[in-house]
Amino acid sequence: MQLIPCPWCGPREEAEFHYGGQAHVAYPGDPSALSDEEWARYVFFRENPSGPFAERWSHNAGCRRWFNAVRDTRTHDLLAVYRVGEPMPEVTA
């Protein structure tokens, strides 16, 4: 059972969290202006890197806050957590 450091509550067990997929995928400003392909890219396509990956987590069973985390997908190690709106920090994997 991995610990995930909630930026508000501190480290808690993974079971308290909900995964939200890739971070920094913004809702398009004007969806109607996008081509079908561009829209499909927003809806269906996500990165799947081997290594550091910025993703969203929600501390569901705790403070219910969404936050971002950089996770190394090879090890599951969380390299950094940061609050929504903050830029992705530099990490060394």
Partner: protein, 938 residues
């Protein structure tokens, strides 16, 4: 004949324990394991092997034993236990296994539980290194947990008869344990095996708490406990397992690891036989030979594979009349079952025990699980821990160190280092003990196998895997140990290859002509020792298996004989059968009563979310497909929610309670999901919006009051409310008092009938329900459950999210284009509605189906085909039946279905395969009852 010594060992000779093994009664003593008691009775044949049926005995004294598998039959049947780890109790009944056991068909009556424990320093293993590590950490003030799999601390010291600082080692151990136990925030767990090491200092350990009490185990005490330990730093002092040497017919009962024979002698007061041959590649087995000789065992010969025997030990043997043959090998054994003779060179030496030592394998399983890398130590012939981890240290023989003082020094350093890393400064230093051991810690010769009959040279005794199997694997071109493990199954039994894995790796390396240092060892995975499912389940069984959520009105439903349906974790009344009624009869009655007079249900499980803020309207406009910001205060609107892909995810009503405040309802199953969905958008996309969402699902009890007489019933309990159609219009709400309780009454309908939804705080739910029942008595008010609710809504073509939808269904597919705003510039899902895929004419669409035979009930989930005869496969499926019921109102059966191009097919006849026949059905609109909506106003 008894093989019990007169003195010595940690057993109580004054107390007899009776037990039965393979149908024969024996006795043993407190302190025995089943294995030691059997050996004391001269019983060496425990079971037989899984594939070849060869007799098997006891190879090792502890949990590394590959062969002594038994099934305990009483007090409770439990398969696949090791006789070496079953503590003896009075009345134990067990039998040996032929490699596999049988699960009991009875529920296990014992309690099992789990407990979380947090510490600064976890020490695994209470041998000399672990004890010193734990005490060093404890003296620093750290929170320490010490786990050890034995029933008492001491580790390897339990199996020897040695002195530390000129006193019995047991005294040294006892002093340390006493100090640990009297130190605050130190937890010493005996009979506890750390079986899994995971990320972030998470270690699972299984404690056997009452197994050893047998029939006397108190029912109220958890028999086994899974400790969920979260530690900042870990010291692994897991020791080393003695490694055998493989030779022909090395699997006979009576062939045992030398150190294990020594352990049976010193810890249990048991002799392995009358006449023993010792076969070794290193010094340590000499101590076994000398100790056993001094206890009366005739040591026929010590066969030392090394060209020269160690002079001092050889002299000690000579002084006791023990022959030592250096530079020789055991090449085979004989015996009908148990070994009766050993072949050494050209000599056949009679014996009833063969004690083998091939060196030592550090126990690196947990270190490896913790992602520690392993390195091959050529001198030791074993994989040892590589680089230390930031939070995991290794001490003692688990590092490959064999000298006791050096081991304890490592323990002290590791304990101090771990405590320091956790932020504690060391306390007074723990002195290191001096040992009188005659066996020096010299490494021996690395010898994996003695050439001979490969088909009878067993590498993994439990899997019946031989040298021949390994060579077959390498001969077939396999090179990776992982592949060979799977091909040969070596290391996949209960013991996870504790005694066989290293040897297999060595034989593979030899066969391939590669260095072991270039081979990657197989990955160690939890659990280190077997853990029963009962222990893993713990208390999450029976009523506690999954929470049962109930509403405030639940006790009434129980009292009135409701049968329940699970909706998510909720228990909802399914129907309320009267005597003699089955589901269909009860539901027809409930439906009829509701459509003809008045019915009532418990709708408290509906999700309810309070949405407040200046931008609440704008927010809801984005979430729902239709417009919510223009809803007037006092009004209610039905809404559909889609994902960004345009697929329906939930529906419900939106109630505007104030200029900046709405209450939205969700389906029962999606309450938490919808709130999460809202928070996700608010927090991650639109933090600028002034909106806050709060769940009030359980604050409110919700009671739909449904049917033409609902107005009269409501009027009777809400005297201050004008219930007339003019004053209380459809899709509006009023705050009032119902049965004297503040209530919010909404006029909404999920059945097409005149209906009200009464909301009161959950504390008042039961009282208001009862008041409504009383007020409705003169109209024959009928409580109904989810089944009737489903029929009533299906007759009106109202879809149920999750039944008519499955994440591939759009509002348009459901015929709900009317609920999709054309005016709003954007909302979640809107852009997807313009995708080509969403506009295909052959999308599956919601329609009604009327079986041509009005008595035929279509099974839900049935497929739908186009023709009255099935063509050759593949048959084109047009869709499936989503809901199907008999209807009191329609006087016939009906169904809802998702059908390709369904909306264009209205009027067509399609076919539904039901068992062997094709049932003809007529496609209709989804609304089958009261199409003109005449019943809505009562």
């Amino acid at each position: 004949m008894s093989f019990r010594t007169d003195t010595g060992g940690a057993i109580d000779r004054n107390t007899l324990l009776r037990f039965t093994f393979n149908g024969v009664e024996h006795t043993g003593h407190p302190g025995d394991t089943l294995a030691s008691a059997l050996l004391a009775n001269g019983v060496h044949e425990i079971g037989s092997s899984v594939k070849l049926g060869r007799p098997r005995g006891v190879v090792a004294a502890g949990s590394e034993d590959p062969t002594s598998l038994v099934q305990v039959e009483a007090p409770f049947s439990e398969p696949m236990l090791l006789a070496t780890t079953v503590e003896l109790y009075d009345g134990l009944v067990a039998r040996g296994l032929a490699g596999q056991g049988k699960l009991s068909s009875e529920p296990d009556p014992a309690r099992y539980d789990a407990k979380h424990e947090h510490c600064d320093v976890l020490v695994v293993g209470a041998g000399p290194a672990g004890l010193v590590a734990a005490l060093t950490a404890a003296r620093s003030g750290a929170r320490v947990v010490l786990v050890d799999e034995q029933n008492q601390a001491g580790g390897a010291l339990l199996g020897v008869d040695e002195y530390l600082d000129d006193r019995p080692s047991a005294e040294w151990v006892a002093d340390i344990v006493a100090e640990l136990k009297s130190t605050p925030d130190v937890l010493v767990l005996e009979r506890t095996t750390a079986f899994g090491m995971y990320q972030d200092g998470f270690v699972l350990a299984l404690q056997k708490r009452t197994d050893h009490l047998g029939f006397a185990a108190p029912a109220s005490v958890a028999r086994q406990r899974v400790w969920r330990i979260r530690t900042r730093q870990t010291v692994l002092a897991t020791g080393a397992h003695e490694r055998p040497v493989v030779f022909a017919d090395n699997d006979r009962p009576g062939i045992m690891l030398a150190s294990s024979a020594r352990t049976f002698l010193h810890h249990y007061g048991v002799l392995p036989g009358s006449r023993a041959v010792v076969f070794t590649t290193n010094d340590s087995a000499y101590c076994a030979a000398i100790d056993l000789a001094e206890s009366g065992v005739d040591i026929a010969v010590v066969v030392d594979a090394r060209p020269e025997a160690p002079a001092r030990l050889a002299a000690e043997c000579a002084a006791r009349g023990i022959e030592v043959r250096a530079g020789q090998l055991v090449t085979g054994t004989e015996g009908p079952g148990r070994v009766t003779a050993v072949q050494v060179g050209d000599d056949r030496i009679a014996c009833d025990a063969l004690l083998v030592s091939g060196g030592w394998n550090p126990v690196v399983s947990l270190f490896s699980q913790a992602r520690g890398t392993l390195r091959y130590d050529a001198e030791l012939g074993a994989f040892v821990p590589g680089r230390e981890l930031a939070t995991v240290r290794v001490a003692g023989s688990a590092t490959g160190e064999l000298d006791l003082t050096a081991c304890t020094r490592q323990g002290r350093d590791a304990g101090a280092g771990a405590a320091a890393a956790a932020g504690f400064t060391s306390g007074s230093q723990v002195p290191l003990p001096a040992s009188d051991s005659r066996c020096t810690a010299r490494s021996g010769l690395v010898l994996w196998r003695v050439p001979g009959n490969d088909d009878a040279s067993f590498v993994d005794l439990q899997r019946d895997s031989t040298v021949a199997d390994v060579l077959r694997a390498t001969g077939a071109g396999l090179r990776s140990l992982e592949h060979i493990k799977r091909y040969t199954t070596i290391g996949t039994a209960h013991d996870q290859g504790k005694t066989s894995g290293m040897i297999a790796a060595g034989i593979v390396a030899e066969a391939l002509g590669v260095e072991l240092s270039e081979q990657r060892p197989t990955t160690f995975r939890p659990p280190f020792t077997s853990v029963s499912f009962a222990a893993l389940a713990g208390r999450d069984r029976g009523d506690l298996h999954d929470p049962v959520r109930v509403t405030s009105i639940h006790p009434w439903h129980v009292q009135h004989g409701a049968l329940f349906e699970n909706v998510g974790q909720w228990k909802r009344p399914w129907y309320y059968p009267q005597p003699g009624e089955d589901l269909h009869a009860a539901v027809l009655r409930e439906c009829r009563a509701t459509r003809e007079s008045v019915g009532m249900m418990d709708g408290s499980t509906l999700g309810k979310i309070d949405v407040q803020g200046r931008d609440a309207g704008e927010f809801l406009d984005m979430l729902y497909t239709n417009m919510m910001s223009n809803l007037k205060v006092g009004k209610i609107r039905y809404g559909v929610m889609c994902g960004v892909d345009g697929m329906v995810i939930d529906d419900g009503t939106v109630i505007r309670v104030g200029e900046e405040r709405y209450i939205v309802t969700t389906t029962t199953g999606n309450a938490a999901k919808v709130l999460d969905w809202m928070e996700e958008w608010l927090q991650t996309e639109w933090p600028h919006l002034d909106v806050h969402c709060t769940s009030v699902t359980e604050h409110w009890a919700t009671i739909p009051l449904v049917g033409p007489k609902s107005r009269a019933v409501l009027a009777a309990v809400a005297p201050s409310l004008d219930v007339s159609n003019e004053a209380f219009e459809f899709m509006t709400w009023h705050d009032t008092e119902v049965a004297g309780v503040p209530a919010r009454v909404c006029r909404i309908s999920f059945s097409g009938e005149l209906a009200y939804e009464i909301n009161v705080t959950a504390w008042h739910g039961l009282a208001v329900w009862e008041a409504l029942m009383a007020a409705g008595e003169r109209y024959g008010i009928t409580p109904y459950g989810t089944e009737t609710m489903h029929v009533l809504r299906a007759e009106k073509g109202y879809p149920i999210i999750g039944q008519e939808t499955d994440a591939t269904v759009t509002p348009q597919d459901l015929g709900m284009s009317w609920a999709v705003s054309k005016k709003k510039p954007d909302f979640i899902g809107k852009r997807s509605f313009a995708r080509a895929e969403n506009n295909r004419s052959d999308r599956k669409q919601l329609v009604g189906l009327l079986p041509v035979d009005p008595a035929v009930l279509l099974p839900e989930g049935s497929q739908i085909v186009e023709t009255d005869r099935l063509p050759e496969p593949p048959v084109r499926m047009l869709g499936h039946v989503t809901s199907s019921y008999p209807s009191a109102a329609l006087g016939r059966t009906f169904a809802l279905a998702l059908v390709r191009s369904g909306h264009e097919r209205i009027g067509e006849t399609l076919y539904v395969p039901v068992e062997d026949s094709l049932v003809p059905v007529t496609v209709t609109e989804s609304v089958l009852y009261d199409k003109e909506g005449a019943r809505r106003d009562g």
